[in-house]
Symmetry: C2
Amino acid sequence: MGEKKIKKNKERCTLQEILTIIGGKWSMSIIYALFPGKRRFSELERMVTGINTRMLVKELKNMEANGIVVRKVFATVPPTVEYMLTDKGKKLEPIIDQLYQWGVEYVGDGVT
Amino acid sequence: MGEKKIKKNKERCTLQEILTIIGGKWSMSIIYALFPGKRRFSELERMVTGINTRMLVKELKNMEANGIVVRKVFATVPPTVEYMLTDKGKKLEPIIDQLYQWGVEYVGDGVT
């Protein structure tokens, strides 16, 4: 029983770690915008409603550090910067989809 | 295409609404602790590692207001207060389970 308690504590710590990665106000919306494939910074800025440039830079940096997205810079003039999900990030797709479905069913009237 | 863009915007708004409900540092850990059934306040306080009394009160109030948990007070001396998930809250179980599995696979060494 003591062992079980320790395991349970670890499970909850992991949930908290997960939320520090994807529980922010914008993270899931950015991941969602990247599901279909790579996006330029300016596209993400347009797609993620309500975010500003500074916040998007910050979120993408965090997501890159956490291995959710990769950033690719092309030596064009001006430089083109593209973002795409890593395999780790792509694995979140069915989960975020279900969370979204839950929201459609239960949260306010967001999609009516 | 205009219509599709509007729908997409609404989807992202809903994801943000969902995160205001369950994206907080403790919400998922509390929901997780309630999966097996009802819990007393003191049990939750022990189970959710690192939370303090004030934060637990606040989180449970929010979750009650959002229809995730119900609170039941029994007229014992001292009064007994129990919390349990609503149907809306229970529907999160498979989603949080998958998120947890994702974390086990990809986030640090939380459960090794």
